[in-house]
């Protein structure tokens, strides 16, 4: 067991590719990173784990040259640097798969992948050699297992497909170090498997990898070494042989997690929402039938682009439905806008938090109370005290880590931002809650809290539809699992039928025998 990050793991060949010493970054009110030292060896896969806000993304942004550290030095190729720039980072072979997608919807896939590094034709005008570009992109797409072509506009790709483009982009740099910041957070199972094998093949080519994920079992499977951050500081390093789910958790949160509480046995309540023959924009020809009952958590699994998010958007009134009907408590309802849905107690925790979930520039309190203002107001006038009190109550309830409820929401870590979105709805009384990837980018501790919250809601009689691409989560949390395939419900599994295999089979369109 290796107790220090300063000493390279025994047997690692040669000098480190990159070493950090005493690197720190402070934001007003938060120490994002505290005097961190670590080495990265060639051909090594480092798992980087930690709770939300532990400083993982901050560290990666420093390596990517996006932000400059306040102190410490970076040793790269024998040169000691105070900080990196984006250009020097790229040119020294550091490639990046960002946690938040950074693609250009107005450009096609090929343009995105080689942006900033286009092959040029001869001549002073710097014209793009489009044929060569296409040829260069094809093998990359094949490698990540993408089914779309090089000239597909990115605007028409789903979130997961966009993530594949991001990965292809990182692969396209002649990289010596590839950093994946939660690459699997929106990838379903099959794509995740492919990604893990890509990572292993990088290692075989002598390329270093830093792999950040909250899905600890994935880290367990690929990492040679795991580095654990807590509150901006490095709290431990686990060598290959010591890597284990429980050890990581213990270092991350400083204690062992209690075993997950067993699901209570219950008889499901009456049908809250009955969806019959509803068609969505992505699959207008595929009617969906589904029943969600009070007091149950219905998991909704499926592959990339199987149409789950689209269904959620229809139920929440964002998109129109192309036919079919929705019945709430046996009454036919028309949900024409999110407003209608909210008025009927149907709430959505969206998949794309930054775009649809929160206002990054608003204080936390104003985000939490946004959906409930008329209730908190008297005669349409706001009441600052009542607002703060309501927000504070939710902050404590959900354990949102922030200096105060008046902090800017954008400064929170991803996980805490997600809790803010939850807090927004929990202050109202939900009848039906739709969670779209509720724990995307959320650490294990917070995950368990959110599961606890969902269960508590269900126990209080709320009907819950949980869309998730995390197999563990789907099986661990749901009371029933519906599996979508190409826009239709391919099957519904009861608790005694749960298994990874059966979910996967339905997801790929095979009938379970």
């Amino acid at each position: 067991m290796n107790h220090s990050s300063d000493i390279p793991p025994p047997g690692a060949p040669g000098k480190p590719f990159l070493s950090l010493s005493g690197v720190g970054k402070t934001y007003p009110g938060v120490v994002a990173l505290e005097g961190l030292s670590m080495d990265i060896m060639p051909g090594e896969i480092i798992g980087l784990v930690g709770e939300n806000g532990a400083g993982k993304s901050t560290l990666m942004k420093i390596l990517g040259g996006v932000i400059a550290p306040d102190r410490g030095t970076i040793l790269l190729d024998g040169a000691e640097l105070r900080s990196l720039t984006v250009e020097s980072s790229i040119s020294s072979g550091i490639a990046f798969v960002h946690q938040e997608l950074n693609l250009f919807e107005n450009l096609d896939v090929a343009a995105n992948i080689f942006l900033g590094r286009e092959p040029l034709k001869a001549g002073p005008l710097k014209l793009v050699d489009r044929d060569r570009l296409r040829d260069m992109v094809k093998p990359l797409l094949k490698r990540v297992g993408a089914h779309f072509s090089a000239d597909t506009p990115v605007a028409s790709l789903s979130l997961a497909e966009q993530q594949m483009v991001e990965i292809a982009k990182a692969l396209s740099i002649n990289a010596r170090l590839v950093i994946f910041d939660e690459p699997t957070s929106s990838l379903p199972l099959a794509e995740t498997e492919r990604l893990l094998s890509i990572i292993k093949s990088l290692k075989a080519d002598g390329i270093s990898v830093i792999f950040i994920s909250h899905r600890l079992h994935e880290v367990e499977r690929v990492a040679d070494r795991v580095v654990v951050l807590r509150d901006g500081a490095l709290v431990g390093t686990l060598a290959k042989t010591d890597i284990g789910h429980d050890q990581m958790v213990k270092l991350m949160i400083g204690r062992m997690l209690a075993a997950r509480t067993a699901k209570p046995q219950r008889s499901p309540g009456s049908v809250a929402l009955k969806i019959s023959a509803v068609r969505t924009e992505a699959y207008p020809g595929r009617p969906v039938d589904l029943e969600i009952r009070y007091g149950e958590i219905l998991g909704l699994a499926g592959l990339v682009g199987s149409g789950r998010t689209e269904l959620a958007r229809v139920l929440f009134g964002i998109d129109r439905s192309y036919g079919g009907s929705i019945l709430q408590d046996g009454q036919k309802i028309a949900v024409r806008s999110a407003r209608d849905a909210v008025a009927r107690g149907i709430f959505l925790v969206p998949e794309d938090r930054k775009r649809n979930g929160i206002l990054l520039d608003f204080p936390i309190a104003q985000n939490i109370t946004l959906a409930d203002l008329p209730m908190l107001a008297s005669r349409f006038m706001l009441s600052a005290e009542r607002e703060t009190a309501a927000a504070e109550k939710q902050r404590v309830r959900l354990g949102i880590k922030a200096p105060s409820v008046s902090s800017r929401t954008g400064t929170l870590s991803g996980g805490n931002q997600q809790k803010v979105v939850l807090a927004k709805w929990l202050s109202k009384s939900p009848k039906v809650m739709i969670f779209d990837e509720p724990t995307r980018g959320i650490d294990i501790g917070a995950k368990n809290e959110i599961y606890g919250l969902m269960r508590a809601l269900a126990d209080a009689g709320v009907a819950i539809l949980m869309i998730s691409s995390d197999m563990e989560e789907v099986i661990g949390v749901s009371d029933r699992i519906a599996v979508m395939h190409e826009g239709q419900i391919a099957g519904i599994l009861d608790e005694d039928e749960f298994s990874q295999e059966s979910v996967l089979l339905l997801a790929v369109g095979k009938r379970v025998k």
Binding site: V31, R355, I358
Partner: protein, 341 residues
Amino acid sequence: MIKKDLGLLLLIVVVGIVVAIINPRFLLPINLANTANLIGLFGILSIGQAYVIITGGIELSVGSLVALLGVLFVDFIAVQDMPWMLALPLILVLGAAIGAIHGWLITRLNLQPFVVTLCGLLIYRGAARFYTADGTAGFAFGQNFPDLEFITAGRFYGVPNTFIALVIISVVMWVVLHRSVFGRYLYAIGKNEEAARYSGIRTGRMVMSAYVICGLLTALAAIYFAMYTRSISPASHGQFYELYAIAAAVLGGFSLRGGEGSIVGVVLGTVLLQELQNLVNLLGIPSSLNFAVMGGVILIGVLVDQQWNAIRAHRRLISAARQTEARASDEGKLPVIANQD
């Protein structure tokens, strides 16, 4: 009142003192009243514009609307002999309706605010000119409307009624924007419309209301302007007023990206702009430089503001870094090693 507004107020006061020293007649009650009158006129326009800018939109047709509605108002009461008690609300309703149409095109048909209101700028100007066949709309000699004139162009203990109207409107609009649920929604929409919609806010309706408010205030200002000049040549009346309004909002700390700004700011912005115009005339600066002075001050204003913020943010970062560094060396190095079990 936030820091930015205080800075602007300070600037207004300093400029005022300097002008008063060079030409003490600046402080004559009559001069102050004249300037206050124009502050009232332009302030009402600017508050309307501010409501639209908050949502991330823009209203470029303000100047043309001032011309069109002014022409109609004067024509109604001076030529068509409509009682002004009828014409006034009619014009206000018309302004609101035009605002509603803009809002409808923007929210329901998803057109860009810049495009819709640019077309408005062209169309309303054309309509105004066509209506009078490019002639001037005005009152005949001796045509008087004492009540209307008192309300719109009169003074109350020496204070122009337009200024009093601005004060009342500012207070109401301040409460609506900064203290009401509607105002909060507008800020939320300006910051991130989609997230606002996902929170169950009827974003379309809110944005539309902002344009209606803008149309309404513009119509009111159009009536005031008409009664101030008492004559409207539709080809030039109100030209560029949208730029004045936008400039006042920008000076007052609004971001054209939406979601930022305050009513106090936009009113102070208007005050500064009118003070500058007054200054150019009082100090005998060539009128040709009037626009240039205005542009220069706006540019310097936003530059100072921007640099100020940048420096402050930088300072805060540096000091935060220092503090933790000090703390770290006090505590000694944190343990890098964690024990298992």
